[in-house]
């Protein structure tokens, strides 16, 4: 397994204990740059924007209850993203954030920065001015809606293919709720059929509705008798704890699929018609089955390109390191055991090509396959590709939450980032990730099959050339010393190469002279006969000769005198001869 180091990082402040899923990447202020949103169990929500060298969030909001999960998405189907933050008490807080350039406090902050700089200067302080950008404080959410209690997973996605986003909430009591945001006027609610009102009642929302209606009386006075609601569309029951939620696209119908993770590495796929499929078979052995049911499972779908076609591949990882890739197209599964000493948690898919380069997104054929990133409690992070090549990064301390996603460190560029939330109230953000999951390669592998055109030359220069080349093409690149030695010589001992060249050039010169003499002799002998073709040939040879001379001059500026070169060449020749004798 390869191990790497990540270098560029920044540390942010964020306190409190948190649910390892209460964070999200997304464009909360609709400026096309991704922000990072995180919430803790004390009800504090923080939004980070940009590099934030001082470590402070961009905006914060307090008193939001026991935040268990959050998501960023177009919950209102208005074309704009909101932050959706759900707490254990059954409240869903929705924040609409205005773009930063419309926010006056930011301008204020900039002013205070410059003024503090000035004041520091006037105090003749030798220290750098401490730039303390205070986060914007949001008094309260844009709106708070009632939802079922004890939700611990949230997903905003269109799961029925009607182009309208649903909110999917998973509860700790194995029930999944599918809700839709709706604007209802009071009259609408009153005019709902009994059945629909029953649905609302069953989802424990009636009391909230009543209070909401009471609240709305104030609004009525202002003429706004429209109430926002999350109306329940579906309710699904599961056998096991819902440990993970994700979506994918059906490779045949292109309709959306909801993926639900179940303990023990199990996956349930739900299509838009609520048809459930269970691609992971529960083992026949009841004992092993019991063992597995304890293990939490994470599910993520990632992109893979197969014959230029973009496909979703589902990655399933159990917290003890069983990694499975499920191919939706042919329903095939591949397994890999990740040997880990600490429990894993959290997984994300990441495309390494996107890093800061938006052009990639416009040309999907340039996109590579996604890799999957997972992290263990001790900070060990594993990056796995579709061929099960694994690269490890060791984060320096224990972590309580890990996030991997796209974030705009600098405006205008969403780049891949790793975020580690530790137990010391800090978030460490790694950006500009240089990750390559390919195994360690070597030069012989790169050159394999590439130098056939030089066969003739190399056969003369390298002892056992054919034998070694054959070994190389058979994948046995462990006995090709003569070839690598020659490559090394060509790259690092340019003197030898120059001498080799000089020797050849000199020999060519001599031969030419000889030929010319012979030719002249011939000419003398056959004076009466005219041979035009011969002289033509010679002319062209002369041309190439002068070219070669020029090249050599360019190459060996300030190079040594001919006599020394001869000596060296002689040595090389001797070496070659010696080798040949040895080989024989």
């Amino acid at each position: 397994m390869r191990s790497i180091c990540l270098v560029e990082r920044v540390k942010w402040k964020f306190g409190g204990n948190m649910n390892p899923h209460a964070f999200g990447f997304g464009d909360v202020d609709n400026d096309e740059d991704n922000e990072f949103v995180i919430g803790n169990l004390k009800g504090e929500l923080a939004v980070f924007k940009g590099i934030s060298v001082c470590g402070e969030p961009y905006m914060i909001c307090n008193g939001l209850g026991t935040i268990t999960c959050l998501a960023i998405g177009d919950i209102k189907n208005s074309g704009k993203n909101s932050i959706v933050c759900v707490n254990a008490e059954g409240q869903c807080h929705i924040f609409d954030v205005a773009p930063s350039n419309e926010l006056i406090p930011i301008v204020d902050n900039e002013n205070t920065t410059t003024s503090s700089k000035k004041s520091n200067d006037s105090q003749n302080s030798t220290m750098r001015p401490i730039i303390n950008v205070n986060p914007l404080i949001i008094e309260k959410p844009t709106m708070t809606l009632p939802v079922p209690v004890n939700c611990n997973r949230i997903l905003i996605a269109d799961i029925d293919g009607d182009g309208i986003n649903e909110v999917i909430l998973a509860r700790t009591d194995r029930i999944l709720h599918v809700l839709r945001f709706q604007k209802l006027s009071i009259d609408n609610i009153k005019s709902l059929t009994k059945e629909q009102q029953n649905i609302l009642a069953r989802s424990n929302m009636m009391t909230d509705l009543a209070s909401e209606m009471a609240n709305s009386k104030d609004k009525e006075k202002k003429g706004a008798n429209i109430v926002m609601h999350l109306v329940e569309k579906k309710k699904l029951f599961f056998d096991g704890q819902i440990t993970s939620l994700s979506t994918a696209k059906d490779p045949i119908t292109s309709s959306p699929l909801l993926l639900v993770g179940q303990p023990g590495g199990h996956l349930i796929i739900i299509d838009k018609n609520e048809k459930k499929t269970f691609p992971t078979q529960v083992s026949d052995n009841p004992e092993s089955c019991d063992e597995l049911t304890e293990v939490s499972t994470e599910i993520v779908s990632g992109i893979r390109f197969k014959n230029g076609e973009r496909l979703d591949v589902v990655a399933i990882i159990t917290m003890d390191g069983k990694f499975t890739l499920y191919d939706l197209q042919n329903s095939s599964m591949r397994h890999h055991e990740l040997r880990v000493t600490h429990k894993l948690f959290g997984m994300a898919a990441m495309n390494l090509c996107i890093n800061g380069d938006k052009k990639c997104l416009d040309e999907p054929e340039k996109l590579g396959d996604d890799i999957f990133v997972t992290c263990a409690w001790n900070g060990n992070t594993y990056m796995i590709d579709h061929d099960f090549n694994v690269v490890k990064f060791e984060f320096e301390t224990r972590v309580c939450a890990f996030a991997a996603g796209q974030y705009a460190i600098a405006p205008g560029h969403n780049v891949n980032c790793f975020m580690y939330v530790d137990f010391e109230d800090r978030i460490t953000v790694y950006y500009n990730l240089r990750i390559n999951t390919k195994p360690v390669t070597n030069f012989t592998e790169i050159m394999n099959g590439q130098f056939n055109q030089f066969d003739e030359l190399l056969r003369n220069k390298i002892p056992d050339y054919d034998q070694e080349k054959k070994a190389l093409s058979n994948g046995q690149n462990q006995s090709v010393y003569n070839i690598t030695e020659f490559f090394h010589q060509c790259l690092y001992q340019l003197d030898d190469y120059k001498n080799m060249k000089a020797k050849l050039q000199r020999e060519i010169e001599e031969l030419k002279k000889q030929k010319r003499e012979e030719y002249e002799k011939e000419q003398n002998e056959l004076r009466e006969k005219n041979v035009p073709t011969e002289s033509d040939k010679l002319g062209s040879a002369d041309e190439s000769e002068s070219l070669n001379e020029e090249q050599s001059r360019n190459h060996q500026h300030e190079s040594s005198s001919i006599s020394e070169q001869e000596e060296c060449t002689f040595n090389i020749l001797q070496d070659v001869e010696k080798r040949e004798i040895e080989n024989e």
């Binding site: 191990s3 790497i4 180091c5 050159m447 060519i508």
Partner: protein, 444 residues
């Protein structure tokens, strides 16, 4: 787009608590090759002992011993990690050193006339462990492990065997750099260990032929220039001795910032080196490394000397063999990244011109290329931890040299841009091939 000269292949972290220092890296050139096969876990496989199973089942055929191999040794406080190069891979070995030897200060690995494999360490003992009948002031020792067994089969075997064969010499000064050189003793070439210390002196140790024990000998007959420092409070931190055909250059950098250089030329009559010139300059900050190098890889070229300082930037003394210290060139960018700790010379783009690599405590690696009259920064790369040593060797024996960067907590192995190497190789091959063909055409 910026050219990436190197990409990180692997980061090998020292076992817990390990840290290296500026004397903690050594490249061992030997005829001993690797004997262990490719491991499935490569490159993170680490062996701590040679299991019999491996020995009997997987031992690779003994290779032709004529071939030269280079292996890498890196020390961390309590241990030494060895990277044994093999074709297409390398094997990592944690040396099973006795914990009682103390903290490792400096290290050198080489082969001498008598021994195929010599592994020398200087160590500092913790205060409590003082042997009663010993000089209580002496906390330091020089430990020399050696093997002269010509029947050695392969490198890994040698590494595990050498641990058992150790000679320990108590030293009563704080050791710094440990190096080796060849001296001419009684008309015979012999390999000597050079140890610098805080007593201002340079100590020389040689192996007695009969007893095979290492003993200290006087420096003065061999290095009168270095012997001159014994009285002063100079405390040599870094020492470099280089020979180029008829010129021998000795440079010593001291803790107090003094840099001394001496040039000797081989006298035509006696065939021995005779000191010609020497020069000193005060740089006012501890000198962390010295590299004397030729500007190009070819035979006749200018000789420069690169000196790095803890506080000031790195300085190249151009044409040091002729102009001594009169032509300094400052590598300015280095001063922006804290103390400059190490340097290395390597042709990173295979054009025959050597580049300068500089590593800093500020975690930055800087690469300079020589222009017409200046050195220009062409590439830089940040690391996670302070950089203590840089080196280059062909660790996977594929013909291109890997860059080794030893940072505080581990060793980074970086491979050069292999596609660029391919382009360069093709350029060279094409040229030779064209000439070769022309030659053959003319022959027929």
């Amino acid at each position: 787009m910026e050219v990436e000269y190197f990409n990180e292949s692997h980061f090998s972290r020292f076992s817990s608590g390990g840290r290296t220092n500026i004397y903690g890296l050594s490249v061992f050139t030997t005829r001993l090759g690797s004997g262990l096969p490719y491991d499935r876990e490569f490159p993170s496989n680490t062996s701590k002992c040679l299991s019999l199973e491996i020995l009997t089942n997987n031992l690779r055929n003994r290779e032709n011993k004529e071939r030269i191999h280079q292996h890498l040794f890196v020390s961390s406080f309590y241990g030494v990690t060895c990277f044994v190069s093999a074709q297409g891979y390398w094997n990592t070995i944690d040396l099973p050193l006795d914990k009682d030897i103390g903290e490792i200060i400096s290290m050198d690995v080489f082969s001498s006339i008598n021994s195929d494999f010599v592994f020398a360490l200087t160590t500092a003992h913790s205060g409590q462990r003082i042997i009663p009948d010993d000089d209580s002031q002496s906390q330091f020792s020089l430990r020399i492990y050696s093997l002269s067994d010509y029947a050695l089969t392969f490198m890994e075997d040698a590494i595990f065997k050498i641990i058992g064969n150790c000679q320990s010499i108590r030293i009563n000064f704080t050791p710094t750099q440990l190096a080796h050189t060849t001296i001419n003793k009684e008309d015979e070439d012999c390999t000597a260990l050079i140890l610098c210390g805080n007593d201002g002196g340079v100590h020389l140790y040689i192996e007695e032929k009969g007893t095979k024990k290492w003993e200290e000998i006087s420096v003065r007959p061999y290095f009168p220039f270095l012997a001159g420092f014994a009285d002063s409070n100079s405390n040599i931190l870094s020492l470099e001795i280089k020979e180029f055909q008829n010129i021998k250059i000795i440079a010593a950098g001291c803790q107090n910032g003094m840099l001394h250089v001496s040039i000797s030329k081989r006298s035509e009559s006696a065939g021995d080196f005779e000191q010609q010139e020497q020069s000193s300059v005060a740089l006012f900050s501890p000198i962390t490394s010295i590299s004397i190098f030729k500007s190009s890889t070819s035979e006749k070229e200018e000789i420069h000397m690169l000196v790095t300082c803890a506080v000031e930037q790195a300085i190249v003394y151009c044409y040091v063999d002729k102009k001594l210290l009169k032509h300094p060139f400052y590598l300015r960018e280095c001063s922006q990244h804290d103390s400059v700790l190490c340097s290395h010379i390597m042709d990173i783009d295979w054009d025959g011109q050597n580049e300068i690599l500089v590593g800093t405590y500020g975690r930055e690696l800087l690469v300079y290329k020589q222009g017409m009259i200046t050195f220009q920064l062409i590439w830089q790369r940040s690391f996670m931890h302070p950089i203590y040593r840089i080196s280059g060797l062909d660790l996977n024996e594929d013909g291109v040299e890997e860059l080794i960067v030893a940072t505080q907590y581990g060793v980074h192995i970086l491979q050069p841009n292999l596609h660029k190497a391919k382009e360069q190789l093709f350029k060279v091959l094409n040229e030779i091939d064209a000439l070769d063909k022309e030659y053959k055409e003319l022959c027929t």
